[in-house]
Amino acid sequence: MPAMAIDRRELLIGAAAALMTVRTAPSLAAASEPARFASAFAGEASGYGVGLIGGDLGIARTIAMPARCHDIAVRPGSREAVVFARRPGRFAVRFDLDGRAGPLELGAEENRHFFGHGVYTADGRLMLSSENDIAGGAGVIGIRDATGGYRPIGSMPTGGTGPHDIALLSDGRTLIVANGGIETDPNGRTDIAVSQMRSSLTAIDLASGALIDRQELKPDWRLLSIRHLAVAAEDSVVFGCQWHGAMTEHPPLVGITRVGAAPRMLDCPAMVTRRMRGYVGSVAVDSSGTLASASSPKGGLVAHWDIASGRFLGTSELADVCGLTGTGRAREILLTSGAGVTRRTMPDGDAATISPPEAHADLHFDNHIVWLGGAT
C-alpha cells in the first residue's frame, strides 16, 4: 500500500508538471494543433501581419504583412487563404494556413484598389474581390484564377459605388455586394462627397455578370452606408451599416433581407442603438445560421439577434470589439478586439470564455476574424 501511495503521488506530480508545461509554453502547445481562426493584426513590436489562432485562442503562427490588412477569404477544399489590404490598399496576399508554402503578394490591377474584402467561388477555382475603378469611381468585382497563380481574368460592375463586403449565396452563383455608396480617396482614406452618397445591396449572377437585384434603404436612411454582411440559414442576408448623418439621429444599424425581398431593419433597444454610435464594424452569423451578431467598436459592444424570430437577445461587452465569426459550435460567436482580446460568447445564456488579458497584449486585432473550419 505505501508503494502504491508513492506511485499515486508521483503520478499527480507528473500530471501537475505536464499542466505547468502547457501553461508556461502556450506558443509551443498552440503550434502543435491546427489553426482554427485567422485575423489581421497590427503588432507593437512585430508590425503588421496575419495571426493564425488555435482553438485555445492562443496564437499558433503569424505571417508578416507589408501594411495593415483587413478581411481574409479561405479557399474551399484547401488550406489556402488570401488576406486583403485595408481600404484603399493595393495588395492582397495568398498564404498557406499550415505554412507549407511561402506567401504570394497579389498586386492590384492598374487603376484599381481593393476595399479589403473578397470570397472564393464554391469550387475554389476563382477568387472575387471588391475593388474600386479609380478613374471612374465605380465599384467592380475583380476576378482572379486561383488555380493559375491568381492571374486577373476579368471583372464585373457591382452596381454601386464603394463596394465593401461581399458574400456568396448557397447556390454558388449569386454574389451579394454591400455597396457602401461612398467613393474613397485612393491616396488616403478620406470619404469623398458623403452628402451625395447612395448605398445599396446588390445581387450579381456570377454566370452572366448580370445584376439580378438591387436594394436601397428608405430615403430617411439615405446616409446609412451598408458595409458588412453575412449569409444566414436559407440564404437570408444580415447586413450592418454606418451612419453618416447628424449624430443626434440614431437610425437602426442592422438589417436582414433576401434576394427579391425588401430589406428590413432588426428591432434593437433604443439605448443599444445609441451606444453603437452609428457604427457597425462587422457582422457574423453562427455556424447554425440562426444567430446574427453585429459589433460596434465605438460602443464597445456586440448585439445579438435570433434570426428566425427577429428577437433581440442582448449584448456582449468588450472594449474596441470588432472581429466576429462563428466557431463551428451552434449559437457561439468568437469576438476579437483592438486591444488584443479574444472571447467566445453564447448569447443565449451560456458563460463566455475570454483569453487572458496578457495573451495578445501587444497585438491590435483588425476588424475581422474568420473561422477556418474544424472543431474549436
Binding site: 483587413h70 491616396n187 488616403g188 474596441d320 486591444a339
Partner: protein
C-alpha cells in the same frame, strides 16, 4: 535609448495598463500603474470648455471674419472689374479665408458636419475633377442662377466653395471680353457670399449656448448626441487623432506622391491658388492649437508628462518641416522639399499613436484601433 524608443516602450506599458494586464515588468510600469490608480478623475467638463472657448470658437470667429472680408472684396471687385488692384485684393482675401478655414477642416461633428458644410466649403479630394468641370459648364452656359448666392446654395456642392472660387480667381484666362469678365466676377461674388453665409452659420451655431454646445456640456441618457462625458471627450480626442491622419495621408502624402496609386502625384488642396503647403501648415498649427489651447495636453499630462509634451513637439516638428519645404508645391515634390515633407510624416505618425494611447490611459476612453477605423 533615444526619445522615440523610450516613448515606444512607455506606450507598450500604457497599453498593457489599459488592457488590465496583471503582470508588468519593470519599475516604470509600477510607477505608471500607481500613477493611474492615484490620478485625479479626468476633467471632462474642463476639456469641453477649453475645446469650445480655447480652440473652436476663436477659430470659427476668425473664419467668419475672413469670409466676410472675402465677400466684401469680391463685391468691390465686381463694381470695378478692370481694377487690377482689386483683383489682387480679392485673391489675398481668398487666401486669408482659406487659411482661416484650415484649422476647422479637421472638425467633422456637430455644426461642422451639418448641412454638408465641409463639402460645400471645400470639396477635396476631387479625383474626377468635378469642380473644374462644373464651373466650366456653368461658364459656358452663362446661367443667371449662379450669380445669386441663394440659388447657388441649392446647386451642386462642387460649385459652392473655395475650390470653385479658386478657379475663377486664379485660373482666369487673360484678355477675356468684358461681358465674360463681368459674368465670372458675378459668379465669384455669389460663391464668396455663399462662403460668408456658411462661415457665419458655422460660427453662430457653435456659439449658440442652447445648441450643440449645450449637448456637449450636458451629456445624459436624454441627450440626443452624448450619453455620457466619455463620449464627448472621445469625440474631441478623435478629432485630434483623425485630424493628424487626414493631414498626413490625404493633404500631404498624395500631392507629394508619397502614397500615390497613380504614377503622378495627385492635385494638392487649393493648388491652383498656390496654397497647398500654406494650407497644410495652417492645418498643423490648428492641430497644435487644438492640442494645447483646446485643453487636451493639459489633461493627458497627468498620465505622462513627458509623452504629453512630446506629442505637441511632434506636431510642431512636422509643421516646421513643411514650412521648410516652402510654398512652391512643384518644388516640394522633388529634392530638398520632398525630403522635408517626408520628414514631416514620421512625427505625425508618432503623435497620432502616442495621443491615442495617452488619451485612452488618461481619460479612460478607448480611442480604439478599430473604433476609429471607419471601415
Amino acid at each position: 535609448m533615444n526619445i522615440r524608443e523610450l516613448a515606444m516602450n512607455r506606450r507598450r506599458l500604457l497599453r498593457l495598463l489599459g488592457a488590465g494586464a496583471l503582470i508588468l515588468p519593470g519599475g516604470s510600469a509600477t510607477t505608471l500603474r500607481a500613477f493611474a490608480e492615484a490620478a485625479p478623475p479626468f476633467d471632462h467638463a474642463g476639456l469641453v470648455e477649453d475645446f469650445l472657448e480655447g480652440f473652436l470658437r476663436p477659430a470659427t470667429a476668425r473664419f467668419a471674419a475672413a469670409a466676410m472680408g472675402l465677400d466684401e472684396a469680391a463685391r468691390a471687385q465686381c463694381a470695378r472689374p478692370d481694377d487690377a488692384g482689386l483683383g489682387a485684393t480679392t485673391r489675398a482675401a481668398f487666401s486669408s479665408a482659406a487659411l482661416a478655414y484650415a484649422p476647422l477642416d479637421i472638425v467633422r461633428f456637430g455644426p461642422s458636419h451639418e448641412a454638408a458644410r465641409p463639402e460645400r466649403l471645400l470639396l477635396y479630394p476631387d479625383p474626377k475633377g468635378l469642380v473644374r468641370r462644373q464651373v466650366e459648364k456653368e461658364l459656358a452656359a452663362r446661367a443667371p442662377s449662379v450669380l445669386d448666392a441663394a440659388s447657388l446654395h441649392g446647386k451642386s456642392v462642387a460649385l459652392q466653395g473655395l475650390p470653385a472660387l479658386e478657379i475663377l480667381l486664379f485660373a482666369a484666362p487673360a484678355g477675356l471680353p468684358a461681358e465674360e469678365t463681368q459674368f465670372r466676377c458675378g459668379f465669384a461674388a455669389a460663391i464668396a457670399a455663399n462662403i460668408r453665409r456658411i462661415a457665419g452659420d458655422l460660427d453662430r451655431d457653435w456659439r449658440d449656448e442652447s445648441g450643440f454646445a449645450r449637448l456637449m456640456r450636458t451629456p445624459s441618457a436624454d441627450n440626443p448626441a452624448y450619453l455620457d462625458a466619455n463620449e464627448v471627450t472621445l469625440g474631441i480626442a478623435q478629432t485630434f487623432v483623425n485630424g493628424i491622419e487626414q493631414i498626413r495621408d490625404s493633404r500631404l502624402a498624395g500631392p507629394i506622391g508619397l502614397r500615390a496609386v497613380d504614377k503622378a502625384p495627385t492635385p494638392g488642396i487649393l493648388e491652383t491658388a498656390g496654397l497647398t503647403l500654406p494650407y497644410i501648415v495652417a492645418g498643423l498649427e490648428g492641430l497644435g492649437a487644438l492640442y494645447g489651447d483646446g485643453g487636451i495636453e493639459k489633461r493627458v499630462t497627468t498620465a505622462d508628462h513627458g509623452i504629453a509634451r512630446l506629442i505637441g513637439e511632434e506636431i510642431e516638428t512636422a509643421a516646421a518641416a513643411v514650412r521648410r519645404a516652402g510654398t512652391d508645391l512643384d518644388a516640394a515634390r522633388k529634392g530638398e522639399g520632398r525630403r522635408a515633407i517626408i520628414a514631416a510624416g514620421f512625427p505625425l505618425r508618432n503623435a497620432q499613436q502616442l495621443a491615442a494611447e495617452l488619451i485612452t490611459q488618461a481619460a479612460g476612453v478607448t480611442v480604439g484601433f478599430n473604433a476609429g477605423d471607419g471601415d
